[in-house]
């Protein structure tokens, strides 16, 4: 089963920018996130992973009465922001939760674990 581990953070845009700057400068080849990602890859369970820009740079497309309105900003202003995800292919929720527990932590970080659906018609297009 595929599971998305969605990483939510309470960092605002400035704080997130500072964290990113520090990360780039350190250029650490053996930091906790590097170790974590390597471990997941070596276990053969990692499907994908991405880190996102802060949601204050998001652009949203809203459907309203047949129109598609482009708006500046995220879908919803919230205190917690989705900043990245790992996609794992593991046997069950317990294993997915184990990977969530192993993830490096930041204060105020929440990992939401969501199973992906399988066998839907549109997914056949991925295999074409």
């Amino acid at each position: 089963m595929k599971y998305a581990l969605l990483i939510y953070s309470q960092l605002n845009a400035d704080e997130y920018g500072a964290v990113l700057d520090a990360t780039r400068q350190a250029d650490d080849d053996d930091g906790p996130w590097v170790q974590y990602t390597r471990a997941a890859r070596d276990a053969g369970v990692l499907v994908a992973a991405e880190q996102l820009t802060h949601d204050d740079t998001a652009t949203s497309l809203r459907h309203q009465g047949g129109d598609r309105m482009i708006t500046d900003g995220p879908f919803m202003e919230t205190k917690e922001h989705l900043l990245g995800f790992y996609l794992f292919d593991v046997d069950d929720l317990d294993t997915a939760l184990d990977w969530a527990k192993r993830m490096p932590t930041h204060p105020g970080q929440t990992i939401e674990v969501r199973a992906a659906l399988a066998g839907l018609p549109w997914q056949r297009a991925l295999a074409d």
């Binding site: 046997d91 069950d92 929720l93 317990d94 997915a96 939760l97 184990d98 674990v113 199973a115």
Partner: protein, 438 residues
């Protein structure tokens, strides 16, 4: 709702056997299908078929096997009728189900009954999975492990039946879609998951023992269900000391049930209970189960609490109780599982062992911290110790505070009657822990 066997009130042996069979069928099917809803539906159909076939042809030699295999075939039929795409069950699983039923219908029966113990455990672990909310775990366990109906569970927890049914539907969907498995967890996860299972069973017991929502102090039916679950769990995991400790604790509390309430429903303090009304068979069983647990040398909170309950059970009177030993056990409990509630109980034990001033000294930091300001038993214990120390005036204030904070109406009324409204003539008797299982 599916075949909802068993009346809650005055469950008969036959009803219990029927429910046990139902639970076994659901467990076996759930594990193989990975889907509680499909298992429940198939079990309902199998029981409906049994009521027709058995009445006509007589009860088969192995009723459990008959029901399981019939339910299994119903599940396969349901899968075929619905078509491969519409099913809620993992197509891979059902593929093997269909092949299994087609090629080896006779193997299925022995196969299934052999794994029954694991199936039941797997179902319990799924129902008590920490990814489910606590009240949902309780409802799932009572419905699918103990075999109560949705109506019975809703009545016990004082929620509308439709609300409870909705919660169960969502929970079944979450188990299926999120990949919660009906298996015994891997060794590295077992301890944590077992803790969640025990907590659910003890929650059910406490709901019956000291209802916070109902008006009557003891709703014994929930105690019966919890003890039944505790016995099942202990039978399935005989080597787990804390599981045995939990069963022992429940049996020892339950042994006092008949003595805890007066005929008019008033709670009777431990000090004044008619000890000859305590159930000696339950005490003997609880003590024996506790001894089994202690031999395993893996101590924990349930065993410590059971040991305290066993000392009460063994005492000829309140005064003759081995209070120093109880105080020591509370100290050990505070080390394993520190909480101000434990300190309150320890204060009473110390007060009995070493005098009220020593007890008040234990209570002082709890009172000062304010952490339990709204916890009735704290003030009841305070009143008890002050009274014992001869400070009736301050004791009366503490009793007053206790009546303001207790949410169990029966206990509150009794405190008011004894200590607040008239001047007390019989000091030194606390209402047992304000009604909660210590």
């Amino acid at each position: 709702m599916a075949a909802g066997p068993g009346g809650l009130a005055g469950t008969t042996r036959l009803e219990r056997a029927f429910r046990e069979e139902w639970g076994a069928v659901v467990a076996t099917l759930a594990r193989r299908l990975g889907d509680l809803q499909a298992a429940e539906d198939a079990a309902a159909e199998a029981f409906a078929a049994a009521s027709v076939t058995w009445a006509r042809d007589g009860v088969p030699p192995n009723p459990g096997g008959w029901l399981t295999v019939t339910a299994w075939r119903k599940a396969v039929d349901a899968h075929r009728a619905a078509g491969p795409r519409s099913t809620s069950v993992d197509p891979q699983v059902l593929g093997s189900v269909t092949a299994d039923a087609r090629t080896a219908p006779d193997i299925a029966e022995t196969d299934m009954t052999e794994t029954l113990g694991d199936d039941r455990l797997g179902l319990i672990f799924a129902c008590c999975h920490p990814a489910l909310a606590e009240d949902v775990r309780v409802a799932l366990t009572l419905r699918f492990v103990a075999g109560l109906t949705t109506r019975e569970i809703a009545a016990a927890f004082v929620v509308p039946e439709a609300t409870l049914a909705q919660r169960l539907v969502r929970a079944k969907r979450k188990i299926r879609e999120s990949g919660i498995r009906f298996t015994v967890p891997a060794p590295e996860r077992l301890a944590e998951r077992l803790q969640s299972v025990r907590a659910v069973v003890y929650l059910v017991f406490n709901e019956g023992f000291a209802s916070s929502s109902g008006s009557s102090l003891i709703r014994g039916d929930m105690c019966d269900e919890a003890i039944w679950l505790g016995r099942l769990l202990h039978r399935l995991m005989p080597g787990d000391a804390e599981t045995a400790g939990l069963l022992a604790l429940m049996l020892l509390h339950e042994s006092r049930r008949a003595a805890r309430l007066a005929a008019d429903g008033r709670p009777i303090p431990l000090a004044e209970q008619d000890r000859s009304a305590w159930n000696s068979a339950l005490i003997a069983e609880g003590t024996a189960v506790l001894d089994e647990a202690l031999v395993l040398r893996s101590p924990g909170t349930y065993q410590l609490q059971a040991a305290i309950a066993a000392l009460h059970a063994a005492a000829g009177s309140f005064e003759a109780t081995d209070w120093p030993q109880i105080a020591l056990l509370y100290r050990a409990l505070a080390r394993v599982d520190p909480s101000p509630v434990v300190e309150v109980n320890r204060a009473v034990a110390v007060g009995m062992a070493d005098g009220p001033l020593a007890g008040l000294a234990v209570l002082a930091p709890v009172l000062a911290s304010g952490a339990l300001a709204e916890y009735g038993p704290l003030h009841a214990a305070h009143g008890f110790l002050l009274e014992k120390a001869g400070d009736s005036e301050r004791a009366r204030g503490a009793w007053m505070r206790a009546t303001e904070t207790l949410d169990n109406a029966a206990v509150r009324d009794e405190l008011l009657r004894r200590y607040v409204e008239p001047r007390t003539e019989n000091p030194g008797r606390g209402v047992e822990n304000g009604g909660s299982a210590p």
